[in-house]
Symmetry: C2
Subunit: 330 residues, 2 copies
């Protein structure tokens, strides 16, 4: 009886502490300005950045998440307010007085599958030291958006406890200039999300099946290879899942589609708290559905317009697109 | 009673006639020699041709089919015997004494997605007049392999009754030199099977969704767009189905994969006698499974090695690759 008297308050205190300090999902990624030119038109500076797309996309599933990033004092507070209204805690977004926000400008070719970078101004991102606010200490799921592998690793190291699952995006740029750093960070994560060209560069294998083996030997137990309009592949042990992309009449602006995919994927995993292979399939379909909205207008526009109903209807389109049932015949 | 006495014998005679003369599937296509070079090796002249691949592939489903083609007296009778043993009636394969069989030679690039044609010797195919043997007069399903659109149309015109479903393959070559003829033939068929580049050329649209609308307005109610390692799309009215390709460690020789796909597709349709959208999905998966074998060795080698059990196991791989089940979440 004496023990029971002691245990009960400790138990309730522990539950209370968990409720207070556990954050469902934490994203690290750029919050930035983009200027985009496509065959359909061009924009002035609009809000973009991997962290922005990931947080907006995952907010369809997760109502309690944090964002770590850095902006200059030129960044609109309205965007941070909007993120807050979607359940995104932006205490981890440092605002550097007297400095400018990261800026990228690019022009897409007619096929929308390739693009030229016109301008990259690192600005505040050049000296980014990712600070983990006190209230982000306990994190269930961590999504590392495309950033220098050193910054990505710093965040992992600064969390007192390892999240249940860490996913990471990266790009060919880091493979070109920081392969050793990249491999160090990769060895610490569970899920790597890259595109087919990056998988080939990273593994030095043309076949994606062979590439997946080489890359998974570098650390990530799960590998997602994005193939743009050709869908995405998930590799884990001997299992492979293929998710189609929705065939679209027009791709208006592909910027942020990969980040939106990653955000939807990780948001779904975090909300369901289930990273079985079967649930990862659902997460990939969810991410693909959100990405299919993202490309319909410039920047984050579509992600701020659509409702949960729109998303559900889009997911149903994926089901009807990919669904078939075999009868044994031969 | 007098009428019944008359009707019964006529009824049985009709059934008897149907059993005798109705052919489940008729294929028209080249029977040829190929010489192939890939990064993995090269062959001397081996047996190839669209008609050969289609008939071999569909023979996994259909035990009663006919082939219309033409060869020279240099063509091995063993190949025709082998086709006969698989239920392929080759009475429609004309053997031209003193002439040579169609010969194609090509070299694949390292990515296996593009190739150079080294030699094309039309030989007997240059003057091909497709004769429909008496026993092929009643045909349920017709598969027109890639040939001149005029030859394809001649076969349709020479059949006394229109088959239930006519499918047709073609290629960019005919779009370049015989677009009007091609459109005439296309207007007579139900299913067109082409690849993504050909769909773009034919429709002058980059988006495959837009291309499909333009092409279906030319006649075929069903359009299948093959995307090689990226799978295949089926369009019909507002419905779209996406079939993945099996991710492979190595593609040894892609020659004939498209024909094998078409043969498996049409063989499945003919054997099930069902061309609903749902059954076409199964037919596409069946064709994809057979094509995934075809590329594992040079030419028709794998198609002559595998069993129905192998095929069933391969189809199961497609099911596990593409299968997912959503739970409504948002």
């Amino acid at each position: 009886m004496g023990v029971a008297k002691l245990v009960a308050p400790i138990f309730y205190l522990a539950i209370f502490a968990l409720l207070i300090i556990t954050m469902r999902l934490l994203t690290v990624g750029s919050v930035a300005f983009d200027a985009i030119e496509t065959p359909f038109g061009k924009t002035d500076k609009i809000v973009g950045g991997a962290g922005t797309f990931i947080a907006l996309s995952s907010s369809f599933f997760v109502k309690d998440q944090g964002l770590i990033s850095v902006v200059g004092d030129d960044f609109p507070s309205e965007t941070l307010d909007y993120l807050n209204s979607k359940g995104v805690n932006t205490k981890g977004v440092q605002i550097k007085e007297g400095e400018k926000t990261f800026f990228w400008s690019g022009k897409y070719h007619n096929d929308m599958n390739s693009r030229d970078t016109l301008v990259t101004e690192l600005n505040v991102l050049g000296t980014f030291d990712p600070i983990v606010p006190a209230e982000y200490q306990e994190v269930d799921y961590l999504m590392l958006g495309n950033l220098s592998p050193e910054v990505q690793r710093t965040v992992i190291e600064r969390l007192p406890n390892r999240p249940k699952l860490i996913a990471m995006d990266t790009m060919n740029f880091w493979m070109d200039i920081a392969m050793d750093e990249l491999k160090k960070t990769m060895s610490l994560v569970d899920v790597l999300i890259i595109n087919d060209e990056e998988a080939r560069q990273l593994s030095q294998e043309y076949s994606l099946v062979k590439a997946a083996k080489v890359i998974r030997a570098m650390g990530p137990k799960f590998l997602i290879i994005k193939k743009g309009e050709h869908g995405a592949l998930l590799f884990h042990n001997e299992d492979i899942f293929f998710a189609p992309a929705l065939p679209l009449e027009d791709v208006f602006d592909p910027t942020g589609a990969g980040d939106t995919f990653a955000g939807g994927f990780m948001g779904y995993i975090a909300a369901t708290d289930d990273f079985s292979f079967e649930n990862m399939k659902r997460a990939i379909i969810s991410g693909s559905a959100l990405a299919s909205f993202c490309v319909e207008k410039f920047g984050t526009t579509r992600l701020t317009e659509i409702t949960s109903n729109d998303l559900n209807r889009r997911v149903e389109k994926f089901v009807s697109l990919a669904n078939f049932e075999m009868n044994q015949l031969v």
